[in-house]
């Protein structure tokens, strides 16, 4: 009887523009385009070698894990600046425990993950219970963990542990002769898990609800406190895991590892179509965000003639071009 039937007549085109999946699709499409451009321009350099594509995952696996963690936080409308520092700290802690204290990696890995998650938990606790802005709390986290790196040792620690060696150098063969590293495989698993959690568990939906409107989520009787703290814990955990993958990638701990990586992670999330105001976006988008950033680097490397500053300018210009196209294709949503 009542009257909402008119709503069905809405133009399909408009509906597509409103669809929240659109930014992700556009990002993915643009990524493919960009990759095609690289393949065309650098075909004689072996750009089309399947391994070049796989290297995107191998070289950015740790970033993917960190960005997945950041996605959780950003979906709630928060932000985590401590990512890079926690990664650096994890490499340092792992290297120190393995090399200087002689602990087995099997024991060190859970310790490192625990410390990262606990750090995230603490930040989440302060953010929620004392109502301090996430930007500031995690900025303090950034300082703190970077400081701890240096407190452990000012010098970098090389890891010679055979387990680490073996893990780092294992190739997971793929059909067609290319391969992935263990870290890349783990990062894809983390992505899949995150997707599952965000879309098929109550916790995941609470994350979206809080991002949509925290006050509403509270009034709807959702456990906002627990969810918010959990999100920072997840991010801390992912950062630590990312740090472990980074340790595998680089086989050393260094107090200056991953400086500024949080901005890469945030950029990847946003490029993947997630809104920093929270509540809107997909973790799959984050994958494409990471791949796009990785591709920009790869393109610049293949170009191979850019001076240091032109590298920066080119990075900025490519990022701008990408976002501009993405923006015009997704249109402006009505508020």
């Amino acid at each position: 009887m009542s009257v909402i039937d008119g709503f069905r007549t809405r133009a399909e085109g408009l509906r597509l523009l409103q669809d929240r999946r659109l930014p992700v699709l556009v990002t993915a499409g643009l990524f493919v385009l960009m990759f095609g451009f690289g393949a065309f321009r650098y075909q004689s350099y072996g750009f089309l070698d399947a391994q070049v594509f796989m290297n995107l995952f191998i070289d950015n696996g740790y970033l993917l894990v960190a960005a997945v963690g950041a996605t959780f936080v950003i979906l709630t409308g928060g932000i985590d600046l401590s990512v890079g520092s926690v990664i650096g700290f994890t490499t340092m802690l792992t290297a120190w425990l393995v090399e200087k204290q002689g602990l087995p990696l099997l024991l060190v890995a859970p310790i490192a993950l625990g410390v990262g998650a606990f750090g995230g938990y603490l930040m989440g606790y302060v953010i929620h219970h004392f109502e301090i802005e996430p930007f500031i709390v995690t900025l303090a986290g950034l300082f703190f963990f970077r400081g701890l790196c240096l407190v452990i040792s000012k010098e970098s620690i090389s890891i010679t542990d055979p387990t680490v060696d073996r893990l780092a150098q294992t190739h997971v063969p793929l059909p067609g002769g290319s391969f992935l590293s263990i870290a890349a495989v783990i990062s894809l698993a983390v992505l899949a898990l995150a997707f599952y959690v965000l879309h098929y568990t109550r916790f995941g939906r609470r994350v979206y609800a809080i991002g949509g409107n925290e006050q509403s989520a509270l009034l709807m009787g959702l456990p906002v406190a627990g969810t918010k703290i959990a999100v920072y814990t997840v991010s801390g955990f992912c950062s630590a895991l990312s740090g472990l993958l980074f340790t595998l990638y680089i086989q050393s701990g260094d107090p200056l590892h991953a400086v500024g990586l949080e901005l890469d992670a945030i950029a990847a999330v946003v490029v993947g179509g997630t809104l920093l105001t929270g509540g809107s976006g997909y973790v799959i988008g984050t994958l494409f965000g990471v791949l796009v950033l990785g591709l920009i680097k790869t393109l610049i490397q293949f170009e191979g003639t850019l001076s240091s500053w032109w590298t920066k300018i080119a990075t900025g210009v490519l990022l701008f071009a990408f976002i501009l196209i993405q923006r015009t294709m997704t249109g402006r949503r009505r508020t």
Binding site: S44, D49, N55, Q169, H257, W309
Partner: protein, 311 residues
């Protein structure tokens, strides 16, 4: 046949077997580094080597992926200035497996397998620190009694900062019980950093005799603070620093810096010679460490040396 597919860019239209060198630079964090980059580029051009250059923006992961991409591009020789000393085994093994020789520049790496790189073209930060201590001995010649030293460190955690402090400390502890470092802070290798830190040092310590700065830029910044505090740099406070950039020599020629330990960025020609030798298959004839040509200067030599400073 796939040995040298890089044909679309670069001056290799001659078709002869031109060497392709993949070079991964640390970044562009300082004037010293810019001079280093320029030297490599110019030398490559002069030597007719096709240079693939990439800038790692101070990130090891970027360097690793750059080296990987050089492997994928099947360059003839790979060279890089490592951001940090550790963590290179995996990627160097990949290079070795691909049959591409590696030459390090600027600083060494820690590795389990010495065959992973052919040679190192560069200097040694720790020895620079030791040289700085010896220069200070000269500067202080005739001085009696305790010496209070303030140290301006480089970026905390960066290899040059750590090693220069270590080398300096080694000599100090071994032969100069009368020297004490009363204040030491990081000035991040920048003039602004050096100036700010020195200003704070001068507030907190009225009795600094010597400033040891890990690079010239910080020393130049510190000089301004010393002047603002009403003291005369080079006289009231002796200054020893490392690098030997042009502005450092200018300051030294004014007597504001007492001694400079040179750390020469112009290692391009030496690198290209090594690349050619390695490419010719004669890598085993090269020494493990090709030291760059550098000297130590005191204020009285500054004016004479100044015109020849290129960077």
């Amino acid at each position: 046949a796939k040995k040298n597919p890089a044909k679309s860019t670069g001056p290799d239209s001659s078709g002869s077997k031109q060497i392709t060198l993949g070079f991964s630079q640390v970044g562009s964090e300082s004037g010293w580094r810019a001079a280093n980059t320029q030297s490599v580029k110019e030398a490559a051009k002069a030597a007719g080597i096709n240079l693939k250059f990439s800038d790692a923006q101070q990130k090891q992961e970027n360097q690793i992926s750059a080296i990987r991409s050089y492997i994928a591009q099947k360059v003839d020789v790979i060279s890089f200035s490592p951001v940090v000393v550790t963590g290179w085994d995996t990627v160097l093994k990949e290079a070795k497996a691909a049959g591409i020789p590696v030459i390090l520049t600027d600083r060494s790496v820690e590795t389990s397998d010495p065959s992973l790189y052919v040679t190192l073209v560069g200097s040694d930060f720790e020895i620079e620190g030791e040289r700085a201590a010896h220069m200070l001995e000269k500067v202080l010649a005739g001085h009696k009694g305790p010496v209070k030293i303030a140290q301006l460190e480089g970026t905390t955690g960066a290899a040059p900062a750590i090693e220069r402090a270590k080398g300096f400390g080694k000599i100090m502890h071994a032969s100069h019980p009368e020297w004490t470092i009363i204040a030491s802070q990081t000035g991040d290798f920048t003039r602004a950093g050096g100036k700010q830190v020195m200003a704070a040092f001068l507030q907190a310590h009225s009795d600094i005799d010597v400033l040891f700065s890990h690079n010239d830029d910080m020393a130049i910044g510190a000089i301004q603070s010393i002047q603002a505090a009403g003291k005369t740099p080079g006289t009231d406070i002796k200054i020893v620093s490392v690098d030997g950039v042009h502005d450092g020599f200018v300051a030294m020629s004014k007597g504001q810096i007492n001694a400079i330990v040179e750390c020469n960025p112009l290692l391009g020609p030496q690198l290209m010679d090594a690349v050619k030798t390695v490419h010719a298959g004669k890598g085993s004839t090269l020494p493990r460490w090709i030291k760059t040509k550098e000297g130590d200067y005191t204020a009285d030599q500054a004016a004479a040396a100044l015109p020849s400073r290129k960077y």
